[in-house]
């Protein structure tokens, strides 16, 4: 005889909240451990991962969900970083009283305007053409930063930015970004974005405004990238326009593609993987002794290995590690603790997504 599902299940509300709560608690514990117990080195890596999560997940929002591949997001990062630093720097006294608040705000607001402009004009292009045009945007930002001496110190290093970024504010933004990307991805907007990515003509014929959904993704993503830029500025504390050029762009895109375009959890995994691997490689680059084997320091070798790794992943998993799918903690939780079934309708699908 079959047992009634009602007797075995767990209350729905709890099952829905538990996974997120458990994840957050675990994350909180890990962060606390890294903040209070671990040394400076580990703490910096943890902060770096947090900032990179904001960067990569927000890039995924535009490149992964809409398929419009922007190479110019580092430009927004640069704008965020410079805006935040400029606003916090000269008013050192004020910054002491009002910790970084004005800086954050400008870092948030400023990338928005260029993003709308760039987005409005570029979102109608496709494929390699978009990539080139956004690359052009990056070059433009670069040129302006180098030449606007009075504001940005030109090509010289912009130093002495107050180090406001902590494990906590970096990761609060990381969690917020993941949550936002997750929600947008599952919202009607997110569906529009993916529909337009997979088949633009079909999407149009269903009445989806391709432009609107792409613009939304692009601006939201530029906004978050700007946030990441300002976090980064207050983390690194000294940088130059060169910090926001091709190397940086390539690093972010590598993480994105390795994790899997269009997958938020994939991005997070990509970031963690690449950051840790490259950190290990960077240490190994200084020379290394394994038993009797002594490897002399080869500078640049880590970049070569990263490039090889990237090509290998593209060859063997062209869709990235997660290939556009998600690891859904909610789903896993529902597998382990099946919720009570409602009498009406199919068990669980559809409702969460709406």
């Amino acid at each position: 005889m079959q047992m009634k599902p009602l007797d075995r299940g767990f209350p729905r509300a709890i099952v829905r909240i538990i996974p997120a709560a458990v994840l957050l608690a675990a994350l909180g514990l890990l962060l606390a451990a890294s903040d209070f117990l671990a040394g400076d080195y580990i703490r910096r890596i943890v902060i770096g991962i947090g900032i990179n999560i904001v960067l990569v997940v927000s890039l995924n929002l535009s490149n992964g969900f809409t398929g419009v591949f922007s190479l110019g997001h580092v430009g927004f990062m640069a704008i965020g970083a410079y805006a935040a630093s400029i606003c916090t720097l000269p008013v050192t006294l004020k910054a002491m009283n009002l910790p970084a608040l004005p800086g954050w705000l400008s870092g948030l607001a400023l990338p928005f305007l260029p993003a709308t402009l760039v987005g409005l004009s570029l979102m109608r292009l496709k494929g390699a053409y978009v990539s080139v045009a956004t690359l052009g945007f990056l070059v433009i930002v670069q040129v302006v930063l180098v030449n606007w001496d009075q504001l940005t110190r030109g090509a010289r290093t912009f130093a002495g930015v107050p180090p406001h970024t902590t494990v906590w504010n970096a990761w609060i933004w990381a969690v917020l970004t993941v949550y936002l990307a997750w929600r947008i991805g599952r919202s009607p907007f997110g569906r529009d974005m993916r529909a337009a990515r997979d088949n633009e003509i079909a999407a149009r014929s269903l009445g989806i405004s391709v432009m609107r959904s792409r613009l939304l993704a692009f601006c939201a993503s530029a906004f978050l990238t700007g946030v990441a830029g300002s976090l980064w500025a207050h983390f690194i504390t000294s940088f130059s326009p060169k910090s926001f050029f091709f190397t940086q762009a390539f690093a972010i895109i590598t993480m994105l593609v390795i994790g899997g375009l269009g997958s938020v959890s994939g991005s997070v995994i990509g970031v963690a993987l690449i950051t840790i691997v490259s950190e290990i490689l960077r240490n190994a680059e200084r020379g290394l002794t394994i038993g009797a084997l002594v490897i002399p320091p080869i500078y640049g070798a880590s970049q070569i290995l990263m490039a090889v790794l990237f090509v290998l992943i593209i060859v063997f998993r062209p869709q990235g590690l997660l290939g556009g799918k998600e690891i859904d903690p909610g789903l896993i939780a529902r597998r382990i603790f099946p919720p009570t079934r409602r009498r009406d309708g199919p068990p669980d699908h559809g409702k969460d997504a709406a």
């Binding site: 591949f69 690359l135 030449n147 593209i314």
Partner: protein
């Protein structure tokens, strides 16, 4: 001259090797994946060069006859520039003939248009694309020689900017169109020189920004490049 031939041969070989190792496995993948692969190959080669040849730039010993200049009336032309122009013209003419008149050239264009259909027509796509890479790297090798002779030194990262510009120019002109590439190159080069001359001196440092603004504007009016096909996508 022997060294020059060896250099060009080496770059051709490197191109073939790259095609076999990095690009053939991802044939048919998303074009973004290919673009990214090519960037990572760039990073790989650059760092390899840094390790092998040290990151400092070193002088490029150009033969003396290249450094002389020809004077005709009030016109003074560096012989190197002249040679570069002639070589560009010859290579371009050769390439055009190759792509339109020879069997392998036509197969190449067929493969770029529709890989599957080309395969069905009995074209050995792998061989054709390998040939394309060999030719491309051969041309790039020639350019490398000319460029270093012009600049007078070599360093591992020298290739980045020219390649970026070449990429931009070919996209502006329309990918897959030789005349488009030439037009794109002329537009890019012309814009740079014109803006350098015409902009008020306070703005000249911003030249590259203006160049890209104009290029982006061009792309908005011709989303597939100047000579790109205007064919609508079929369902």
């Amino acid at each position: 001259v022997v060294a020059a031939i060896a250099a060009v041969a080496a770059s051709t070989l490197a191109g073939l090797l790259m095609e076999r190792l990095a690009y053939r496995p991802i044939r048919g993948a998303h074009e973004i994946a290919m673009l990214l692969t090519s960037f990572s190959v760039t990073i790989l080669l650059e760092n390899l060069a840094i390790i092998l040849f040290k990151p400092t730039s070193r002088p490029f010993p150009a033969p003396a006859f290249l450094r002389s200049a020809i004077e005709a009336g009030s016109l003074r032309l560096a012989s190197l520039d002249l040679i570069a122009i002639v070589i560009a013209g010859v290579l371009l003419a050769g390439l055009t003939l190759f792509v339109t008149r020879t069997r392998i050239g036509v197969s190449m264009r067929a493969a770029s248009e529709d890989l599957l259909a080309a395969r069905l027509m009995g074209i050995n796509v792998n061989a054709v694309i390998a040939a394309a890479f060999a030719i491309g790297s051969f041309l790039a090798g020639v350019v490398g020689l000319l460029w270093s002779a012009r600049v007078g030194k070599v360093d591992p990262l020298m290739g980045f900017n020219p390649v970026l510009k070449a990429f931009v120019a070919s996209v502006i002109g329309g990918l897959g169109s030789l005349p488009g590439a030439v037009i794109g190159a002329y537009i890019l080069g012309g814009l740079e020189i014109l803006l350098q001359g015409l902009l008020p001196s306070a703005l000249t440092p911003y030249r590259d920004a203006f160049v890209f603004v104009i290029l982006i504007a061009l792309l908005l009016f011709r989303p597939n490049g100047i000579m790109g096909s205007t064919e609508k996508e079929k369902i």
